[in-house]
Amino acid sequence: MPRYLIGRLVQFLPTLLGITLLTFVMIRVLPGDPAQFLEGDRGDAASLAATRARLGIDEPLTTQFWIFVTDLLRGDLGRSFITNRPVSEMIATALPQTAALAVSAMLIAVGVGVSLGVVAALKHNTVWDSLLRLVALIGVSIPVFWLGLQLQILFGLQLKLLPVSGAGYDEHLILPAVAASFGMLAVLMRITRSSLLEVLSQDYVRTAHSKGLRPRRVTVRHILSNALLPIVTVWGTGLAGLLSGTLLVEVIFSYPGMGRLLVDSISARDYPSVQGLVLTFALIYALMNLIVDLLYPLIDPRIRFT
């Protein structure tokens, strides 16, 4: 176990470096000069040079990258071109909002997705099973933002049950979280169903039943615990979809999180905030994947020895 843990953590470092490098390169190769953009038509050669020096973009790229990384380690992501606020501060305000939305969506996806998957597997080859498979299929095919719009129209504008925009750790979260959860919910339902069906046909399940264990105990101890690994794997790969979904949902529901901030920053050509936000998104994603990897040996003891 410690070796597996250390191995995973060591692998994480090059990933971090790669994320930083790719983000840096992507923003730097942009066509056009940020100084020119900031100054507009007013700038003459001297003031442009001064602005470039102020932004630190007159240095060689290697120096720039070094400065970028050392600043990053101190938590300094630069200042927004538009508001001149530190980017780290803007992210610190938006991050809890996005986290609340993403965590709510994930709870819905895991709770509902896994439960429905269990139902579909236990009712294998019945109408319920077919119906749930159809729901799963629609879930992976539906555009998140369109679902968000339809939920707004139905529950917000027609039935007037829930707010259609704004923030708050209350009923404001319900519609956005449901919309953002749908894709992962469908994927989890699908994998839960198929992995349960596989476990159900195993000999040890028949043995457990025939030695007279109560059905509930067999379901939890023998079936669910063995079906968990593929579910956790898919949960890990589904996180990217969940993050993207959150981003789109934030725009639809005018929810002040990181996704909306990213989209606003891009339309304002605010490169420091774009850079900071993309980096933060990638870090969150990498961290969540790391957590999934570290969960494996807890679920499947065999992994400890590999």
Binding site: M26, L149, L157, L248, A282
Partner: protein, 293 residues
């Protein structure tokens, strides 16, 4: 004895493509998927001939924001244009972008995976580390950032999606090549003097293409969704007489209070088309006997 031999000689072994096709058509879900995809492609291509109205010119005086009716099946938009007509034309844009982006991703993915797996060594390590880094980003966020850098336009959406979406294909192809490279037919071809390019393209590629076909078909649905999302975020082309489905959704956002049909139908078109690609992809997986990864 003789009889049996003659009989066996008479039965020609089935062409694997045909066998796969027969298996595909045996499943109802795959047939539905195939029909949906074919229908969407055909109606988009035939838009100029079957569209009841002009996609660009509206009738502001008579048809301003009309709900669905006999004349306008899906209603009209804010300048009196027929939404059904615009969905037909929008399909051309959406499907074109999805197909083009997925083709770029396919070419890069196959090229990278093939060479990495075939040549191995430091070259393989380098390429696969690159894949790892790109995969460390959520795809849509990387595409958004790229478009922020490249600037919004239709061509740039194709580029951005193509450039971020090849990594899984590369991994699949590399894994297959690693296994295939040790197979007897490859060793034999090499012994007969086949060069690297011939080995890769003539001998290995046809034998490993099945999982790539499956993944690419499923990916078409994903590309369509991503295109719609990016257009929806305003990263598509700003000046467009006939917008993609995603762009139609953006334009309709201001009207969700008064005209539900404006956002409803373009999204439904996306949903049905993606559903078609997913059904077809799942069907192909079974027909080509590709085990899920």
């Amino acid at each position: 004895m003789n009889e049996t031999f003659r009989l066996q000689g008479a039965v020609r072994p089935d062409d694997p493509t045909r066998m796969a096709l027969r298996r595909l058509l045996r499943s109802a879900a795959s047939v539905i998927g195939l029909l949906i995809v074919a229908f969407m492609l055909l109606t988009a291509l035939a838009a100029p001939f079957i569209a009841p109205y002009d996609p660009v010119l509206g009738d502001l005086a008579n048809d301003y924001v009309k709900p669905p009716s006999q004349e306008h099946l899906f209603g009209t938009d804010a300048v009196g244009r027929d939404i059904f007509t615009r969905i037909l034309y929008g399909g051309q844009i959406s499907l074109k972008i999805a197909l083009a982006a997925q083709s770029i991703a396919l070419i890069i993915g196959v090229a990278v995976g093939m060479t990495a797996g075939f040549f191995g060594g430091w070259f393989d390590v380098l390429l696969m580390r690159m894949v790892d880094v790109i995969m460390a980003f959520p795809l849509l966020i990387l595409a958004i950032a790229l478009l922020g850098v490249l600037g919004p336009s239709e061509v740039n959406i194709i580029l951005a999606l193509g450039l971020v979406n090849w990594t899984v294909t590369a991994r699949i192809v590399r894994g297959q090549v690693l296994a295939a490279k040790e197979m007897e037919y490859v060793v034999a071809a090499r012994g007969l003097g086949a060069g690297s390019l011939v080995l890769m393209v003539r001998h290995i590629l046809p034998n490993i293409i099945a999982p790539v076909i499956v993944y690419t078909t499923l990916g078409l649905g994903g590309a369509l969704l991503a295109e719609a999302a990016l257009s929806f975020l305003g990263l598509g082309s700003a000046q467009q007489a006939t917008p993609s489905w995603g762009k139609m959704l953006t334009e309709s956002r201001a009207f969700i209070r008064s005209a539900w049909w404006m956002p409803f139908y373009p999204g439904l078109a996306i949903l049905i088309t993606v559903l078609g690609f997913n059904l077809l992809g799942d069907g192909l997986r079974d027909a080509l006997d590709v085990r899920s990864r």
